[in-house]
Amino acid sequence: MAQGVMTIAEQRDGEIRKISYELVSEGRRLADSLGQEVTTLLLGSNIKDKASTLGHYGADKVLVAEDPRLDPYTTDAYVAVIAELVKANDPAILILGASVQGKDLSGRLSAKLGVGMAQDCTVFAIEDGNLVATRPIYAGKAYAKVTFSDSFPQMATARPNVMTLNEPDTSKSAEVVDASFTLDDSAIKTKVADVMKDESGKVDLTEADKIVSGGRGMKGPENYNILEALADVIGATVGASRSAVDAGWRPHTDQVGQTGKVVSPNLYIACGISGAIQHLAGMSTSKVIVAINKDPDAPIFQKADYGVVDDLFKVVPPLTEEIKKLL
């Protein structure tokens, strides 16, 4: 019988990504309520020495699959290896991150395993021994609570930044085991030809702890420097509304909303954003929301924890200065 919780770790350039620890932390809570174990699967090349940190967050066992063909990530190689290891280990629950990689992987893997898959979940619970997942649909305009019907493993992805991270405990260690698997060259049909790094070093919106976003009220691309200045001081990533992106002021990758990125930072500061329903849908799981807008009737104020009704050009620069004094 299927047993235990399995999470899929994510690494890049030999470093384990934060989402991997979020998954282990959440997996630990689920496994505890089932009285079962957490196994994390770590794939890559020369990655084994990084496996122990996963134990600090609560993994009982780390299965390490090392092969030069598993770094960098390709859908084909990962799906082939993970499918084999999932079948061999028969977990009851399989959790991945709803990162770009996790979203790419989850669709193919669930189809290969022929199981149900709950994408981009924000809450997991165990009810009657089964996984129940809550996921925003229609970009968060509604929520669906779902469960699985005779489908093992019960497979889901977790939205980055949402699952509570356990305090790492260096006294806890995981059993690190070399996974045995076969990987046939013929299974790999795609190849990463090049990696273009974003040299700005800024954190992606989907993973950002803080976001400063600007909309139509920014009046033009040249004015985003005041948001960049605020973002620099608080360690935030700058985002944009759809209208700012469609106007060509900011790149597509900066768009927050239903047809852009869905974000869950600790702090979201919306500047000159009126709050179209599509935008609100994309940021409503943020923990603290601030709106700065001169229109007191802007819908964004309905979602905001703190609202400033004033001209953003007169509020944001002194806000940056005031925060500098406090930090």
């Binding site: 859908t75 084909d76 770009v100 990689q101 669709g107 193919r108 669930s110 290969k112 199981v115 149900g116 898959m117 994408q119 981009d120 925003p136 649909i137 229609y138 970009a139 968060g140 305009k141 509604a142 929520y143 669906a144 609570k145 779902v146 699985f148 049909k189 795609t190 190849k191 990463v192 030809a193 090049d194 990696v195 273009m196 974003d198 800024k202 954190v203 989907t206 803080k210 597509h252 990758t253 239903q258 047809t259 600790n266 702090l267 599509q278 409503s284 603290v288 601030v290 709106a291 979602k303 924890d305 703190y306 609202g307 400033v308 002194p318 806000l319 200065e321 925060i323 406090l326 930090l327």
Partner: protein
């Protein structure tokens, strides 16, 4: 070069979504149905490739009769023919069921590339494209913002932005590509295009036509069960920051973010 584009019809993103009294679905009255925005990027890219390489673009939709309008929109944009999989047994299918139905149509067509949107902006699964690629046993290239097909039409190079970097991925064809925003600016259907679309072939298929049985792809085959749909959690009413001047408000906000919200 023959290209297939899978289309989904979804509520316009302006739509206020209301949960139906059964707690299992949304209220479908008064919804303006449109082509899934990510599918529009797929249609546009298919048309650009057709303009360069020649060949045919076939659109495949799945859903009730109203999806015909979305397929006609794609035909008006320039696609050549359409197929609608319309069977009441598919109404509550899950991802795998829908992918199986699409695969049953597509496996009999000649194609080099399949485009789907990276996700439908309704259920936000983002799974059907990958499931379809798996069923057809072809490579998948997901969340793509740039597509370059080699001169000989046998391989493709694509760009996939991941957190903080862009991967350039090469694949042989045929392959399935899921379109992400940034891929292109979709064209509008022209008036002559709309007139021509009325005469383009649009076939309808039932599960029986595809040799499929409802027990394998319909509601009964669902692996994921919806227990309950709810409106999003309400946020508590916020505070409007008081102050005589913008500077005062800024100072007050900074203090609250630091001391009360502990967000900075």
């Amino acid at each position: 070069m023959n290209i297939i584009v899978c289309l989904k019809q979804v509520p316009d993103t302006e739509t206020l979504i209301k949960v139906a009294p059964d707690g299992q679905s949304i209220v479908k009255d008064d919804i303006k149905w449109v082509m899934n925005p990510y599918d529009e990027f797929g249609v546009e890219e298919a048309l650009r490739l057709k303009e360069k390489f020649g060949g045919e673009v076939t659109v495949v939709g799945l859903g009730p009769k109203r999806v015909t309008e979305t397929i006609r929109t794609a035909l008006a944009m320039g696609c050549d023919k359409g197929v609608l999989i319309n069977d009441p047994a598919l109404e509550n299918s899950d991802v795998l069921g829908r992918a199986k139905a699409l695969a049953a149509v597509i496996k009999n067509l000649d194609f080099d590339i399949i485009f789907t949107g990276q996700r439908g902006v309704d259920e936000d699964n983002g799974l059907v494209g990958a499931a379809l690629a798996e069923l057809l046993d072809i490579p998948q290239l997901s969340l793509i913002v740039k597509v370059e097909v080699s001169e000989d039409g046998k391989s493709v190079k694509v760009n996939r932005p991941v957190e903080g970097q862009v991967l350039v991925i090469e694949s042989s064809l045929p392959a399935l590509i899921t379109a992400q925003k940034g891929l292109n600016e979709p064209r509008y259907a022209s008036l002559p295009g709309i007139m021509k679309a009325k005469k383009k072939p649009l076939e309808e298929k039932t599960l029986a036509d595809l040799g499929l049985d409802a027990s394998g792809v319909g509601e009964g085959a669902r692996k994921l069960k919806i227990l309950q749909m709810t409106p999003p959690p309400q946020r508590a009413a916020g505070k409007i920051i008081e102050g005589e001047t913008p500077e005062e408000k800024a100072a007050q906000l900074a203090k609250l973010l630091r001391e009360e919200a502990k967000a900075i």
